[in-house]
Symmetry: C2
Subunit: 205 residues, 2 copies
């Protein structure tokens, strides 16, 4: 995949909607090219096929997420506060790119079969959460859990699925506000839990 010029990149976002709607398999290359407003030959000059077009779009968004989340996670403040900011940051980017998110869900397989993309996904979503959990234990704002990996995955799953669902519905037109609302809900759940009794003394089971 050649270095993609910015102008072309922005045009490609025009095809994200199409891919999200019909799935990569049912979106013909000619249609993708039309939707983006570029000739098929040009598309093949930059990409080796439609898989790579999707991969490019995804990588672009993941980079954005990794950046925003990274900023939120390395800001000053307690780990707990930063966790909340990071959750919101991730949701904000996702809701800003609903079409790409929808395309991602639909063709996760094709996407993650490209190994460098699977790594980027891990990097953008999962790792920052895992680090924040560890930092929270150090600074005393989050409690120690038995299996931090599973907890990080759970939080990651909660954010991702909720964000994806919001991207699919695409109801509101103030995505920043939506992100904040959803983030608050998730953080409330993750921090305070659902139990009414003051928390089982020695964990569960």
């Amino acid at each position: 995949m050649r270095q993609v010029p910015a102008k072309l990149a922005s045009k490609l976002y025009g095809a994200a909607e199409l891919i999200a709607e019909r799935g990569l398999a049912d979106a013909k290359v000619d249609e993708i090219a039309d939707a983006a407003g570029i000739p098929k030959a040009t598309l093949y000059y930059y990409f080796s096929g439609k898989d790579e077009v999707l991969a490019f779009l995804l990588a672009d968004m993941l980079e954005l997420i990794a950046g925003e989340v990274g900023t939120a996670a390395s800001a000053p403040g307690s780990a707990r506060d930063r966790l909340e900011s990071a959750v919101e940051a991730q949701l904000a980017v996702m809701l800003d790119h609903p079409a790409v998110c929808r395309a991602l869900v639909g063709d996760l397989g094709r996407a993650t079969r490209l190994p460098e993309l699977a790594a980027a996904l891990q990097e953008a979503f999962h790792r920052p959460i895992a680090s924040l959990l560890a930092e929270g234990v150090s600074d005393g704002t989050l409690r120690q859990v038995e299996d931090p990996g599973a907890v990080a995955l759970s939080i990651f799953g909660a954010i991702t699925v909720t964000g994806l669902s919001a991207a699919v519905d695409g109801s509101s037109n103030d995505s920043a506000k939506d992100a904040a609302r959803i983030a608050a809900s998730i953080c409330d759940l993750m921090l305070n839990g659902l139990a009414t009794t003051p928390a089982n003394p020695e964990g569960d089971r």
Copy 2:
């Protein structure tokens, strides 16, 4: 799609691994037929194409999940306890069918573009959790939250992503034990939260 005889159904599971490994797009119909040990013509006698083969496998697993989770959710006991059983039940089925799970992640798009399957997915995963949350508020074992829909989605996301990840890694050989361990971790998180301070008086933000 004709009524699929049990013998054929069981053979089809032999193709799940292939589909999971390579993705539906890269798995040729002839290969799928070979992997299942049935002739291509027979496959087309029962299914309209490979999408339907995947859909069948998925529907089969979803039915299983819906059944197990339903049983757990309607057992006697507090809503909170039943929530814990339901989480474990879902994980157990997922870890029992890792290949189908992996195929599902990879080709979620193709799968959910079949409308009846999207409904089944909702039914099997999401709905029972939402009901249990509501019941928990009624019987006092779970607290009231601001946005129950978002919370149900979050829990659903946590289970699903964690289960999927476990299915992909496929490390252990005692899947029931894995399911129990992961379920305990998720339930601890969802019920007790991560906060060290006794919980913010008026929710968050």
